[in-house]
Symmetry: C2
Subunit: 241 residues, 2 copies
Amino acid sequence: MTRIPPTVRCQGRSNCFDCTLRHEMVCSEVTLNELIDFHTGIEDFDYDHGAALFSKDAPTEGVYCIRHGAVKIVKYDPVGGQRIIRVLKKGDVAGLESAFGDSYEHTAMAVGEVRACRVPIEYFRTFVSQHGNLQMRLLRTSQATLRETESWLSELTVGNLSARTRMARLMLRLRVTDDGDRIHRFGVEDMAAILGITAETVSRVVSDLVREGILVKGGKSFATRYFRGDLPALEKIAREA
Amino acid sequence: MTRIPPTVRCQGRSNCFDCTLRHEMVCSEVTLNELIDFHTGIEDFDYDHGAALFSKDAPTEGVYCIRHGAVKIVKYDPVGGQRIIRVLKKGDVAGLESAFGDSYEHTAMAVGEVRACRVPIEYFRTFVSQHGNLQMRLLRTSQATLRETESWLSELTVGNLSARTRMARLMLRLRVTDDGDRIHRFGVEDMAAILGITAETVSRVVSDLVREGILVKGGKSFATRYFRGDLPALEKIAREA
DNA sequence: CGTGTACTTGAGTGGGCTCAAGCAGGGTGG
DNA sequence: CCACCCTGCTTGAGCCCACTCAAGTACACG
């Protein structure tokens, strides 16, 4: 029984073999045919700046593999304020926290242009329930996300550290790739919602860093803009008491 | 084949049937005999104020079910500072995050007197690997911990909220039981490490709340001391902008 | 009864907040 | 093509909360 290869099933745009989710899925129990089957129903989507991949309390309809761009995960305070608790980049998977619940825990929103492919939730669940090893893998992933969230929040939201230090740490975490100096450039309101400070303070701190040449603005539109960062300088600031 | 009942295997002190971990474990796949077997090797421990249940980077040797008291989970900054990222109370399980790794991710330390029982890690792993459903349950538990940590950190560490508001929120989260007004009374340094503010500020804010009668100090020694809180008043303060 | 640790309280400083105005630049419509 | 607007960003002035440094107090324990 021959099958159409995954790249075609994914409408020729997704490169499913790069996908983190695929690495999650592949193990000794899973055959290539199953994997190809798995790609059935996967759809690609483009999102403009500010568009929601999914919203809090909406029925869970899939998990999303981010293929390009950055996605902010937003949590709403009981008091009304909103807080960005995590940022997903290329290769990350969105919605896993809600994959076994009825509705999404958070809102996921595109920052700049985003490309993502969606795995329908029914298929995801079926696949997981049929492959015991996957549960263990997902468990490890979940624990890794927990660690990541702990350090994200504990390093960026320390009240008694200066806004400048926390901003430097944020910039280092928003690097597009692990090896380059290109940094996702969020809006000032977004950065404020991450660090738990005001937009004015964010603007002041960023302006200082730009004036000092530690950050360089690039790109025109919201969709394509970025920073280039002087990484050693940022690391030095990030270490300051 | 008759077996000694769990309460006896647990040296007569643990009431294993109250344990959260047990609820985690019990499902259709697990028979009573297996459950009794599971209790083999479980030991009870008492910890004084400040004693470590386990330390970061120490080899994983078990998971701990907290039977009495409060345990702080400490994470060490790369910079050197320490931060309390979670607090476990009666019925919670400590060390699950590290159950499938070689060493502990965090340090767990007793606040006041603590009683806990330890499940040896080899037995825990064996048991989990033999019962497929458990992995799914642990996955859900892990995701619940993730949610809890997200809201814990995002509600308590907002920089632009007053220390008083955040302290009120912390007090509400440190309640010994869900229905009473008794509150775990941590040291000022500990509360500072949770909220990301200085110990002096903690002292000032707590002193104010005590003077206003919203908090009432009780107990003498570190081991037994506590607050009683005026919950409606605390909730009002917690809601303030 | 002395000693140490944890906590309290004060005075002064400063970083980040608030309020408010000005600016830049991309998009729209005339 | 320009005028306009609208949104997001910048910058300023003044204030206030929390930090720092420092001294004083309470209390548990030997």
